[in-house]
Symmetry: C2
Subunit: 265 residues, 2 copies
Amino acid sequence: MKKAIDRTFAIADKQSEGIYTFGPLIHNPQVIERLKEKGVIPTDDIYCDAIKALIIRTHGMPLHLMEKAVQQGYELIDATCPFVKKAQQYAKLLQEDGYHVVILGDKEHPEVKGLMSYAGEGGTIVTNGREELPALGNKVGVVVQTTQPVEALKKLVSRIIEQSKEIKVYNTICSSTALRLKETEEMARKVDVMIVVGGRNSANTTQLANLCSSIPIKTYHIETADELDRRWFEGAEKVGITAGASTPDWIIEDVKKRIKDRGGR
Amino acid sequence: MKKAIDRTFAIADKQSEGIYTFGPLIHNPQVIERLKEKGVIPTDDIYCDAIKALIIRTHGMPLHLMEKAVQQGYELIDATCPFVKKAQQYAKLLQEDGYHVVILGDKEHPEVKGLMSYAGEGGTIVTNGREELPALGNKVGVVVQTTQPVEALKKLVSRIIEQSKEIKVYNTICSSTALRLKETEEMARKVDVMIVVGGRNSANTTQLANLCSSIPIKTYHIETADELDRRWFEGAEKVGITAGASTPDWIIEDVKKRIKDRGGR
């Protein structure tokens, strides 16, 4: 994600107007604010006359909208996360090979909406393996929203095994997200308070916060250092800090510094 | 399996000598005895001069032995169970497509030995998902001994998901075996004693007996009515009877009759 941010700032430095991102580039409001100051505007309107260059956000973009953007003659700049891109390709491959494509993920998340456009008309989204599965047929292919926990994938596949005879699973969970979850869990078990830094609309940041809370440990999910409250740290000897994939380094450094200085309101 | 038995008896009726089966045709000693009386002999020796026709048993046969049998000029009669045959083809397909083939099953079972010959040199047998998994690589294909319980498959796939990125599963569990397990479990919950009829060397019969014992319910695994003991039924109002896939009807009928007549020693 950091690459996508750097690349977009570089584009904004060269070109001063008409740069849009399809939806927010990443799920971090502070970065989006900085980009706006540089003239990079998030839009959901693919037919806006002011668009010259359209940046595809890290979560990807539905195929039919991408085709429309090309028809509109915009310069398309693809900042799709490589893990998401792989998942899209696998969804397409499965669909072409005659599999009923099942996407494990959050229906409302732009990444999943993008993936769905590669899964074909018969694609099915399953959220966290909880709801009733529809009849999927005998040949089922699975791809996963890159920020899903591996436990959810295991549960889903176990349920598909009960009804289908041929199942092809692409475990498209982002390995750095999985690693961050693991490291965060280890850290959370050793400290008294956990601070999770990142966009409240960021799926992977929220997942980190939920993981810490479930341990259980006192957990605070903040977007910036300004939200810190010194009362949170009363009696705490050790404080753990973790951050989502889309949280920029300057925000993390700011939080670290403020906590070290016994900061917060 | 009953088709294989009928077919073998029909062959024996037409031809009087030189008919061999590679290993016992099915895992039922009483049927094997009857076949022997008809001149159908089980053998493990592929180079026996007396062989004219060689019947491939329901569990299948390793590929290289089949090739040797053809070289020896024997007439080969394939009585491989269609479910086993499918599993063999899937193992071959996975191997050709570059998957590391994992077979879920009992290492010592002839069906698994046969499957293994289709899985290629890199194939791995995993028994019931208990032992440590070796490193399997990123592309793993799974086939299942037809008599395995689906729970074991779910567990195995969950473990593979943790280490591999692309997993293709052929759920080759025999649907009639799975159905028989389900029906047996339902029956066992309603009766006071369960009688499981079938070869003690039959994997699916033993599985039925173990399932009943685990409920728990008083369970007796017998091969023939002669083993019945009237003391087993003292105080019992309802008796359940189930049988393995390879148990012939005449043995089941015999057991039923004997129990109805308050039989046994």
